[in-house]
């Protein structure tokens, strides 16, 4: 299996970097951050694991107690820190362990997507999915699909400002 650092020269170990210099450039491997809710989606991911379903290794999972606890702060920070895509997954509407936590998620992520679009980032980099504890197959499918989408979009554009010359135009 490929190591996840292979696609990212910044974080790579010096040894890896050396290898990259001598070999030809590796294809772009997106880094995807996933916020999975403890009660449904994380269990879903677990099920995908124990069922030995194959899905891309580009995903790094953060378990949260509820998808509603994922704030725009976290999403922006993820993108700023170099995530090429962010997946937020929670229980289906009506199944939330905290009754209405995922209502918040839905409102927030929809809003966030439009903001990203307006700021010039592709909203497809942010994805919201409802995955229950029984949907291991669906989890693998979503990760596969999302990885392909983000791979198509390429690396996340920078949050850092451009040279001052542009600013006057």
């Amino acid at each position: 299996m490929k190591h996840w650092r292979d696609g990212c020269p910044d974080n790579a170990h010096p040894l890896y970097r050396e290898k990259r210099c001598t070999l030809k450039a590796t294809p772009f491997e997106p880094r995807i951050l996933a916020f999975l809710c403890n009660w449904c989606s994380y269990a879903g991911a677990d099920l995908a694991g124990v069922s030995r379903l194959q899905y891309p290794h580009n995903i790094r999972v953060i378990r949260v107690m509820c998808s509603g606890s994922v704030s725009p702060h976290h999403l922006l920070r993820a993108f700023r820190k170099g995530a090429d895509g962010v997946l937020v997954a929670g229980c289906h509407i009506g199944d939330c362990h905290y009754l209405k936590g995922n209502y918040m998620t839905l409102k927030r992520v929809r809003f966030m997507e439009e903001m990203l679009r307006f700021a010039g980032f592709d909203p497809a980099r942010l994805r919201l999915e409802w995955i229950s504890a029984a949907e291991g197959i669906r989890f693998a499918e979503v990760v596969r699909e999302f990885t392909a989408t983000v791979k198509g979009l390429g690396p996340m554009p920078s949050f850092d400002a451009v040279p001052r010359a542009f600013a006057m135009g």
């Binding site: 922006l76 839905l106 903001m115 010039g120 554009p157 949050f159 850092d160 400002a161 001052r164």
Partner: protein, 264 residues
Amino acid sequence: MKTTIERLIREGLVDAFWAYRSFRDCHFPWLFTQEDLHHLEPWRQTDVRFPIVKLLLASARENPEKTYGILVRGCEERGIEELFKWNQLKRERVVILGQACSKSLAAKCECRKPFPDRLQYGEAVAPVMESKKLRELEQMTMESLHEWWLAHLNRCIRCFGCRDVCPVCFCIECSLEHTDLIPGTILPPDASFHLLRAIHMGGRCIDCGLCEEICPAHIPLRSLHKKVNGLVRETFGYTPGDGNKSPFTLLGDVSELPSLSRRT
């Protein structure tokens, strides 16, 4: 204005009144109390705006048991209404007098409601419903938008003026100062600074435009916040500053949720 404020203070209906006085033709906000009633002037229309709601909020926080009066424009009235909703001011502790904005100011601000509901002074002028700049921006492609925004945000000097002047930024502790959330060591701050502020303004921004007016780097923050307001209006059917309850303070019903599928 002079007689009304004098009457309010003399009768003890308000303890102090935020209005304006002038010095050599320069207009500035002033807290009138029993002692300086002789400084009161007759009302006149001006195009200069001040963060008078912020001043009111500060003085109300200092003396929560006192009643304050305030002379407001349309935007400032919306700001106060929003502060009532978020439990920052008490309705029974604020007495509002309204003044209308001039036509030129309304045009300059692209104001959707250049007059308060409680209008006492001046004539209400026609609102300006559309923002030219926002329409231009919405027609741009994603790449050029990205470039355009970064080019403007590049000038930010992190003075926090936009936050400090904003009438609805009432938090005591601000996430913009949190270095775990926003990198604190680089200048200009990256785009997440203003994006985060814009997201916080969702359902709160009353579209007064003071942030853009005060920005020393002339960052077009107004367009960003107008867009946020447009999104809130589209998604939740809510305009900050009106009499309705904010959907951001409620969990609500399934029927009020936006659709799961993304708009393309």
